[in-house]
Amino acid sequence: MGNLAELLHGFTIAVTVPHLVLMAVGVLLGILVGVLPGLGAPNGVSLLLPLTFGMQPVSAIILLSSMYWGALFGGSVTSILFNIPGEPSSVATTFDGYPMARDGRPTTALATAFGSAAFGALIGVILITFLASWVAQVALAFGPPEYFAVYFLAFASFVGMGGAAPIKTVVALAIGFAIAAIGIDTVSGSVRLTMGIDELVKGVNFVVAVMGLFGIGELLVAVEEEFHARAVSSKIDWREVFRAVGRLPRHSVALLRSAAIGCWMGITPGGPTAASFMSYGIARRFSRRGRYFGTGEVEGIISPETADHAAGTSALLPMLSLGIPGSATAAVMMGGLMIWGLNPGPMLFVDQKDFVWGLIASMYVGNIVAVALVLLTVPVFAALMRIPFVVIAPLIVIICVVGAYSVSNSYLDVVMMLGFGIVGYLFKKLFYPLAPLVLAIVIGDKAEDAFRQSMLMSKGSLGIFFANKLVTCLVVAGIALLLLPLVLQLARPFRKSTSPAAETAAQEKVII
């Protein structure tokens, strides 16, 4: 209960007028950078960082973390409305969020996303509050083989998921791995797959790939299929915001399951991206309406959003207690910590109680402030969907081009982004799934590093993946997820079959 007393003390620090004002400012700035293309949370936080040097460390971290919350929420907005995810972790939100918004329910989609995100963040903070020391220990148990096992689990939950033909999923994964391999290889230090283009040594940036695959790819499909398309008629309806949030408890199973996956992946340093993909994959498998996923299902939004925010929040803990930044944004904040004269690490909790507990308390308050503010903006954002397609289409192109260019001020990125747009279009037309491709681009190189580091450690023996209980459990769970669809398929003839033709048709529709 010692933690509870500390937390109450933290609240007395966080809930003061200047700090509440800082939170509101931070959240609003965060929403802005989250919505604007190519800016994103890490850049926003680094822009703001120099302003904080004169501040008290607690005030500074409250401002920066509030901005982070705002940016996370803001990032979901473009995913849902325009199919352009701003952060790797909001890719999975596009799968059902975008179809729902196209279907004339942008208000519902946004409100559902924000509501479940807030729930995930809340669970994440509660976890930090009560399990801080334990969580730090768990993270230490993760060496290269364990990391690989976690990534393997994320891939397995996706491959086994079905939707597209398994062979197509594997092809998409393989292409993703090849793209992730471009650039300098950590383990050998050599340059790979740059095809004579010097600039490619930096690798392919995720934002560039995703803006093309989703933003431009979707646009090309839309131009072909529904050029005369309708602006989505969405009424600005305040009540729908509250109704959508009010409906959330009905999906309590999905909420709790996703929060659990999110926290787990946040602590075991799999991170928010792996968490949101895995949560979506598992929800699709176990939800009763799983086969409709990809057409605008509520649980298809709830699952990735809850897991994303639960993981994003609990990932701040390793940064504070171990000095491992869980994300690019956390890395910038850690740089800030050092400039303010604090050393992240186990001693922070002993030496800097006011700072740590002030921050944790501000996570509760900051998230409440953030969700209140974003819910207020829902009707405004939803109104964007009423703009006719002929106006919005060029806007999306501009957003994607500017976004790709601003990643590292490079024209090559713009060209690559357009190339990815064509790839995205072809994938859609040929019923190849995009999700495994993106997953492989985002965590493929990390998985590869972890695997090869493990092989170096064990001098080439695969036994290292079964060397202790933790890694064995993870690997076995991954293999089980991988084989599950196969087993179900084999078992199917023995059950009363639902007309297979109808099922295939339903599946073709929801390939993502």
Binding site: G143, I184, T186, G189, E199, V201, I339, P346, Q453, M457
Partner: protein, 330 residues
């Protein structure tokens, strides 16, 4: 014509301001870009941001400064960018010794000769770290235990400073170590805390928090003499209490990593002189002292011939290790 008038204008500005030393006749006329050849939060990024902060705070230039991160390909992205910006005096590249080491061992599209050296501003030291509860107390004990051949050494990147040092330890200490490359020193530190590797050779700032937190401790420092006196890190020890490796029978006298500053190639001597002068001014501020102390680095300032000399020496050294290991790119 336009160049001349610009030049005259800047001279007159400098004269009017009354503080322009003879060499710094050139003055920037538009925003300056600081290119950090590392991702946000790393040592190189911290340096670029610290300098930006000092310059802005003391108004050392009228022009705004933006820091951009180009850390792809172990920093190669930033250097290639610098090479492509030849003649542009508004791009300042912040890096380390990998500016000359990387082209030696991997096929990257730049060499340090494509850039204009400005200065080496701070030296980061290397230490040999082991897990807190490891049985060995000195580098000698460590080498004895490592003779079993099953020791794993972690480090940042492959064929970079950390691995070069590891190979030097192998040679001098007559042991065989398995080198496991991670993305960064911070990652290696966490892996050591978890007991997944046996040692690493991190810079002081990369493992400071871990030492304080009691998860790992330094055995010795690769420096000719002990580090300068400073505040205590743990209850009983500070950096100056760490013995040198030579003292403990690991005969590597000196190994350090300079933080380096560059301009793109083909800039005028006046432009280069301006930035040398700017960095000198930065170094004279109390905030710089503060930065050096907080990151536990050694304050140095090498420029011109001295800097060239340093690069040549270091290059010789690395070339030798790289040749022995068969790393050289053809």
């Amino acid at each position: 014509m336009r160049g001349t008038s610009l030049f005259l204008l800047s001279v007159s500005v400098a004269v009017l301001a009354g503080n322009g030393p003879a060499l710094a006749a050139w003055q920037p006329q538009k925003p300056i870009e600081f290119v950090a050849t590392a991702g946000p939060g790393g040592g190189t990024d911290n340096l670029a941001r610290a300098v930006q902060n000092i310059v802005t705070k003391h108004k050392l230039t009228e022009q705004p400064i933006v820091v951009v991160n180009k850390g792809g390909g172990s920093g190669a992205e930033g250097y290639v960018y610098g090479k492509a910006s030849a003649g542009d005096p508004y791009k300042v590249i912040f890096g380390t010794s990998n500016a000359w080491q990387q082209p030696l061992v991997s096929k990257v599209a730049f060499n340090y000769t494509d850039l204009t050296p400005i200065a080496a501003m701070a030296q980061d030291e290397f230490l040999l770290w082991v897990k807190q509860d490891a049985p060995y107390k000195t580098a000698g004990d460590y080498l004895k235990a490592a003779a079993s051949g099953s020791f794993k050494m972690g480090g940042a990147q492959s064929k970079d400073t950390d691995e070069v040092l590891t190979r030097m330890i192998e040679k001098v200490g007559h042991v065989k170590l398995t080198y496991i490359p991670f993305k960064s020193g911070a990652e290696a530190a966490v892996q050591l805390a978890g007991g997944h590797i046996d040692s690493h050779v991190n810079n002081p700032s990369e493992s400071l928090g871990q030492w304080r937190g009691g998860t790992q401790r330094p055995l010795c420092v690769f420096s000719p003499k002990r580090l300068p006196e400073g505040p205590k890190i743990t209850a009983t020890e500070g950096w100056s209490d760490v013995p040198t490796c030579v003292e403990q029978g690991l005969d590597i006298k000196q190994y350090e990593q300079p933080r380096t500053v560059w301009l793109p190639g083909k800039v005028t001597p006046e432009q280069a002189a301006y930035y040398v002068d700017l960095m000198k001014k930065v170094q004279a501020t109390p905030e710089w002292k503060d930065y050096i102390e907080k990151t536990s680095q050694v304050d140095t300032f090498l420029t011109g011939a001295e800097f060239d000399q340093f690069i040549k020496q270091d290059l010789e050294h690395v070339k030798q290790v790289a040749t022995e290991q068969g790393w050289l790119v053809k």
